[in-house]
Symmetry: C2
Subunit: 256 residues, 2 copies
């Protein structure tokens, strides 16, 4: 972990951003200005190795102009796991050029990427409106995380990257959204069994960063990956059974 | 069916609405002004029996002030099926009063309700940006529709209500969103087996109104309901099996 989140918190608490005009203050609209502010503050900590995910891809492909095929570009990543987490679709990678750079995409894995000495910190910025009781936000696809864990095991990628979350708590004050508190949490410090999977919501893991259990300690990242895969498959089986119980059985009497 | 959709189409094609300020022109933001315009045009056809769903509930409860308990208010609906489709939560119904009216809610079943002679037409307005290739929008929860079909059969509600969709095709022209075409379709005219259920997207049925098959004819509404329940349960079983194949089996080798 590179980012000093305590320092980040000190710098952001008390800061205000302009209220986005038009529309509701829902998740994405309110989040954007804080996301940009967090990005800027992390960049102050690491001026030369902080990227948006798409910026990193543009940087990586630009400094390796000889890599022209999809295969050659895939090989630029430190590992297949990282390729899986950061890459764009095959078609987009094929079409990439210095004149056709990647742009930001809402379903990129990370908002921010800090990388040094071949290690990677993926950071996702979440925002929470203190004036409203809201459902826990989408964090990452539980299936994507399962595929990531399988690749981590296959490639023995156990200390190549971290996935961390930074949450900005804000309240509307006149025309400003003011940050009143902030929190951070590490995905791989949460006991995998504690991760809630919302199957109906695109299989997303959902949590509020400030409520995430951080008690996974004294065990290896490989154990984390295997325990997560146990959790994911158990929950998938549970959901499949639930579907039969809730969506099939009650209606059987109407079928003739 | 009360609404004359051909007339509605004639009146709306060519009309422009102001571009919502701020944010992206995504589904909900762009849809709202057209939804309001459609509402107004339907009201011109039926000045005294066109409601927003919440307006109808306020109207129904207001003219029956003696009905004060949840049970008494539930009995005001023509049938349990309609109650299921239109009602708010128990808690909200309990707290309703002329001084505490219902407001619009995004997950109400219908945008617009036309009711005459104890028949109901539920109308949902969809908008399609012709400048963008977009996924088919969420129509209704496949599970909610299954519950509706079961109640239709239980209560023999086969000609109490219709559920219809009206789609406004628009294009951005300077500062206006201009309607270039419009389409309507009836849910109960689509062969039930043709309805696509997106299990990961909150079990939503998804379609573009202009692409909806309308060939269900010469058969009863009861047949529709039973065929839909067959379709829904078949698809639920298929999805449960898919979950085991995709989300359990590939990861079993990592479990020890």
């Amino acid at each position: 972990m590179f980012v000093n989140y305590n320092l980040l918190k000190q710098k952001i608490v008390g800061r205000g951003v302009e209220k986005p005009t038009g529309g509701t203050l829902s998740g994405h609209a309110a989040g954007e200005p804080f996301d940009k502010l967090v990005n800027q503050l992390i960049k102050e900590q690491f001026p030369n190795c902080t990227y948006r995910q798409y910026e990193y891809l543009n940087f990586l492909f630009s400094k390796n102009k000889d890599a022209k095929t999809v295969q050659a570009r895939n090989n630029l990543f430190e590992s297949p796991t990282l390729l899986f987490l950061l890459d764009r679709g095959k078609n987009a990678v094929e079409k990439w050029s210095v004149n056709n750079l990647f742009e930001e995409k809402q379903n990129d894995t990370a908002d921010i990427l800090v990388t040094k000495e071949k290690k990677f910190e993926l950071i996702d910025v979440k925002t929470r409106n203190l004036g409203k009781k809201a459902q826990a936000p989408n964090i990452i696809s539980a299936y994507k995380l399962a595929q990531t864990c399988a690749k981590m095991i296959d490639n023995q990628d156990f200390d190549l990257f971290d996935i961390n979350y930074f949450q900005v708590d804000w309240r509307l004050d006149e025309k400003l959204l003011v940050c009143l508190d902030a929190h951070y949490a590490e995905l791989f410090k949460c006991p995998p069994e504690e991760l809630y999977i919302n199957w109906a919501a695109a299989m997303q893991i959902q949590f509020h960063v400030d409520e995430l259990n951080q008690n996974f300690n004294n065990e290896t990242r490989e154990t984390w990956a295997r325990r997560y895969l146990k959790h994911f498959t158990t929950e998938a089986k549970r959901r499949a059974n639930y579907m039969i119980e809730e969506f099939v059985k009650p209606f059987e009497k109407y079928l003739r």
